[in-house]
């Protein structure tokens, strides 16, 4: 049975990203002009976006930071795994395209990128190494290693602190500016979403569970003229015409750029079928196949 609601309109993506960015940062109200408001709580509700170094401004927990924390505390991360599974199975990497605060920053960065160089395909596996590595490094070092040294918290965390509270350590500020410059240079020659494609550990976690996501890109080959306009705009470097392949299911962030660009409206982002096709439908298919 195919869901009657087929389309999630990509025009709503930017407003959704901006609202999500604001919601992730609601913790900023703890530091109002009249002083520090510690009574405004910071919960451990897990969000579905990467929120590097922005703990002070956030009021929800980033899944990667929480995972590392559980490992350091010698607790099995049932809660984080469960939430990641639920997010993955329901919206999957749609969260990367529509809700992740880092995604909004990267989409803005993308406007100035040159897209000259296409990195090799194997680089997509780096994010899975990052995912395993962050757990291993947290266990070995006893620190939240990934958050401290490997992500770029300069934009989401340290610079906002510096601008508002002037209490940051300059060693960390310059270190993270350096890491950000590295990713920025890489993105400049490849793509703004290079972080999501090659490095993001949360993207890796969501792509594994998001393989079975309830939201997916639908491709209707009947009207397709193979103009490849969709392929040119895909931020993840995919071929949207192969939307049912393993690669697309793992990597697609459902941003809907392909759907927006397609002149014949062959592509839509929308809910996947929730139930297996009924017996009648299967028999009809078989009869049709025989007839053809």
């Amino acid at each position: 049975m195919v869901s009657p609601i087929r389309i999630i309109d990509p025009r709503f993506r930017l407003p959704a990203q901006v609202i999500s960015f604001g919601v992730h940062r609601l913790g900023i109200f703890r530091k109002l002009p009249d002083g520090w408001h510690a009574e405004i709580p910071r919960t451990s509700v897990i969000t579905c976006g990467l929120n590097c170094q922005a703990c002070e401004l956030a009021w929800m927990g980033c899944p990667m930071g929480m995972t590392q924390r559980y490992i350091i505390d010698n607790r099995f991360p049932f809660y984080v795994l469960g939430v990641l599974m639920l997010i993955g199975v329901t919206i999957g990497r749609w969260a990367c395209g529509w809700l992740c605060p880092m995604g909004l920053v990267l989409d803005l960065v993308n406007k100035g990128c040159k897209h000259k160089y296409e990195p090799p395909e194997w680089m997509r596996y780096i994010k899975y190494i990052y995912l395993v590595g962050l757990a291993v490094l947290a266990a070995l070092t006893g620190t939240i290693f990934f958050c401290r040294y490997l992500c770029f918290g300069a934009i989401l965390g340290i610079i906002p602190y510096w601008l508002t509270w002037q209490t940051v350590s300059f060693v960390w500020l310059f270190y993270h500016l350096g890491v950000f410059s590295f990713y920025l240079t890489f993105s400049y020659f490849t793509h703004g979403r290079a972080w999501c494609r090659y490095f993001c550990p949360l993207g890796a976690a969501l792509s594994i569970t998001g393989f079975f996501s309830m939201i997916r890109t639908h491709y209707n080959w009947v009207w397709c003229t193979k103009c490849e306009a969709c392929k040119k705009v895909c931020p993840m470097g995919l071929d949207p015409m192969k939307s049912a392949t393993v690669k697309n299911r793992l990597e697609c962030i459902k941003c809907g750029r392909c759907a927006k660009k397609c002149p014949n409206k062959c592509l839509t982002v929308g809910p996947a079928p929730l139930f297996t096709p009924g017996k009648t439908e299967k028999v009809t298919k078989r009869v049709r196949a025989k007839g053809e």
């Binding site: 451990s44 607790r75 984080v80 469960g82 329901t90 350590s169």
Partner: protein
């Protein structure tokens, strides 16, 4: 060299594999229930809601904020 070629061929084959909707739908429901079970176990096994370091801002202090 042969091994490298074999690996890349297998990876390309895996990437272009098409999984049937039937399998996806069944595994999806299984994972959904497993996810709910994992969250439930998290709360049963301990007070998983609460991560002391985040709640008390020790993490940010350690970074020099």
């Amino acid at each position: 060299m042969e091994f490298k070629k074999w690996i890349s061929t297998q990876a390309a084959r895996f990437r272009s594999l098409q999984v049937s909707d039937d399998v996806i739908i069944r595994v999806r429901w299984f994972l959904l229930f497993m996810g709910i079970l994992a969250v439930y176990l998290g709360f049963q096994a301990g007070d998983d809601w609460y991560v002391k370091e985040f709640a008390t801002y020790d993490w940010a202090r350690g970074m020099g904020y």
